[in-house]
C-alpha cells in the first residue's frame, strides 16, 4: 500500500497524487486513512486541494468532494485537468476557455456503465467455501468448488458457483439489479438478489445448472440454456 497516494504542499494549498495503477476503492480507502492521520493539517479551511493522477469518473469525483467538505471542511477541491484549465485561463485571459464537449445522451449512458464496471474487481475462488468463511467483492465472484452450508458469498455483481451452492449467496449487495446467481447445483436454503430475499424449498437434486435473476422485481430461477 506504500506510495499509491502522494501528498505535496503547494503555496496555494495541497496537491494529492493518486497512483494511476491502483483502483478507486483502494485509493479511497488509503486516502481516508492518510487524511485522518493528518487532520490538523487541514485546520485552515481555505486550503485548496488539487487531485491529480488517476482519472476519476464524475460520481467518484463527487464522492471525494463530499468527503472533503463534510469531514474536513474543505470546499475548494479541484481535479488535475480542471486545475490545468484554470491556470490556462489565468494566464491568457483574452483566450476563451476551452469548451468541453457537451455530453450527449449516448455518451452519458456509456459513462455511467463504465463507471459502474470499471473499478469493480472480480475475484476467482479456487476452492470450496466452507462454513464460517465469507467472500466479499464489489464486483463478480466465481467459485470453483462448492459453497457449503454456513459459507457466505457476497458480491456487488453476479456470482457463479462451479459446484453445489448450499450456503448463502447475495448478488447485487449494493443495489444493482442486473445481476444473477448461477450454480451447477442450486440448492441453497436462502438466496439474496439485490434487495430481495428468497427462501428455497429443500431440494437435493437439481436438473442441471441454473440461474437465479431478477425479472420484474421478482426472483426467477431458470435452467442455463445455450441460446
Amino acid at each position: 500500500m506504500q506510495g499509491i497516494i502522494t501528498f505535496k504542499g503547494k503555496e496555494k494549498g495541497l496537491e494529492i497524487y493518486l497512483d494511476e495503477r491502483s483502483t478507486y476503492p483502494v485509493l479511497r480507502e488509503e486516502l481516508m486513512e492518510k487524511l485522518k492521520k493528518n487532520q490538523d493539517f487541514f485546520r485552515d479551511s481555505d486550503t485548496r486541494v488539487v487531485i491529480r493522477g488517476k482519472k476519476l469518473s464524475e460520481a467518484q469525483r463527487k464522492e471525494l468532494r463530499r468527503v472533503f467538505s463534510m469531514d474536513f471542511g474543505i470546499r475548494d477541491v479541484i481535479y488535475g485537468d480542471e486545475a490545468d484549465l484554470m491556470r490556462e485561463a489565468e494566464l491568457k485571459i483574452e483566450k476563451p476557455p476551452v469548451k468541453k464537449p457537451e455530453p450527449d445522451e449516448y455518451r452519458e449512458e456509456v459513462e455511467l456503465v463504465s463507471g459502474a464496471y470499471f473499478d469493480a474487481q472480480s475475484i476467482f475462488i479456487n476452492h470450496t467455501v466452507r462454513s464460517g468463511q465469507r467472500i466479499e467483492c464489489e464486483g463478480d465472484i466465481v467459485v470453483l468448488g462448492d459453497v457449503n452450508p454456513g459459507g457466505e458469498v457476497i458480491a456487488g455483481g453476479s456470482i457463479a458457483v462451479f459446484g453445489r451452492l448450499r450456503g448463502l449467496a447475495h448478488a447485487g449487495c449494493s443495489g444493482r439489479k442486473d445481476v444473477c446467481v448461477a450454480a451447477v447445483n442450486m440448492c441453497p436454503k436462502q438466496l439474496r438478489l439485490s434487495g430481495r430475499v428468497v427462501t428455497f424449498p429443500d431440494r437435493e437434486e437439481t436438473g442441471g445448472p441454473e440461474v437465479a435473476e431478477m425479472r420484474d422485481g421478482k426472483v426467477v430461477i431458470r435452467p442455463v440454456s445455450v441460446k
Partner: protein, 263 residues
Amino acid sequence: MENVIVITSGKGGVGKTTSTANLGTGLAMQGKKVVLVDTDIGLRNLDVVLGLENRIVYDLVDVVEGTCKLKQALIKDKRYEGLYLLPAAQTRNKMAVAPEQMKELIAELEQEFDYVLIDCPAGIERGFKNAVAGAKSAIVVTVPEVSSVRDADRIIGLLSASGIEDVRLLINRLRPDLVRKGDMLAIDDTLEILGIDLIGVIPEDEMIFRSSNLGEPAVTDKASLAGEAYRNVTRRIMGEDVPMLDLEQKTGFFGRIKRLFSK
C-alpha cells in the same frame, strides 16, 4: 499420515477424546512409541478414558511454565509398551499456554516419539489454536448429524488456514440401521459436503461406554466392532491400505450372532 496428528472436531461430544485414546493405544499395540497430549486445559479427561487419572503429578502447564521437566510430566501406561500421556492442567484455563509454546513442546516430543497425537478441545478459540500449533496432520471427527458436519466443515477451513493440508475425516457413532431408514446422514452425504478423504467409520457401540468407564480403550477388545474399526484406522495412519469395514453386514442379524459366539 505425518507423525504429529491433531484430533479435532469443532463440536463437543463427538468422540475426540475417545478416538485419541483408542488410536493412541492402537498405535502402541502395533509396537509404536506414542505420546498422547491432552490440550483441553481446564476440562481434561483423556487421562480418565485411559484410566491414568490417579498417576498425574505434573501436567502440560507445569512443563510450559518450567515447573518440571518434560520427562517428569509424561505418564507411562504400564499396560502397553510405548504409550505415554501428557495430561492437561485441570485448575487452569486455555490462556495459560500460548500457541508458540505448544509448538516448542510438540517439537521436543517429536524427537522422542514415533507418533504425537494431540487431543483438541471443542471450539475454535485459544484451545484450538494451541492444539493445532505444532500439528502436521489432522483427523477431523464428526458424527453423522448436520450440526456436527457443519462444525467439521468450519474446522477444515480453519485447519487449511493454519497450513495443515493433510486432513482426514473420521465418522463416529454411525448406525447403519438408521442410515438405512434415512434417519441418519449417510457416509456419502457427509463426504460430499466435506470433500476430504475418509480415514475410517466407527459404528455406534455400547462397548465404548463400558470401556470409557473402565479406562480401557475399546481398541483392545477383540469382540468390539468399534474396536475393530479403530484398529483399522490405526493401520491406515501407519500407511497401510486397509479396506473399510462392511458395517451393513457386521451389524446385521448374522453378524450379531457370530459376534455373540466369538466372545
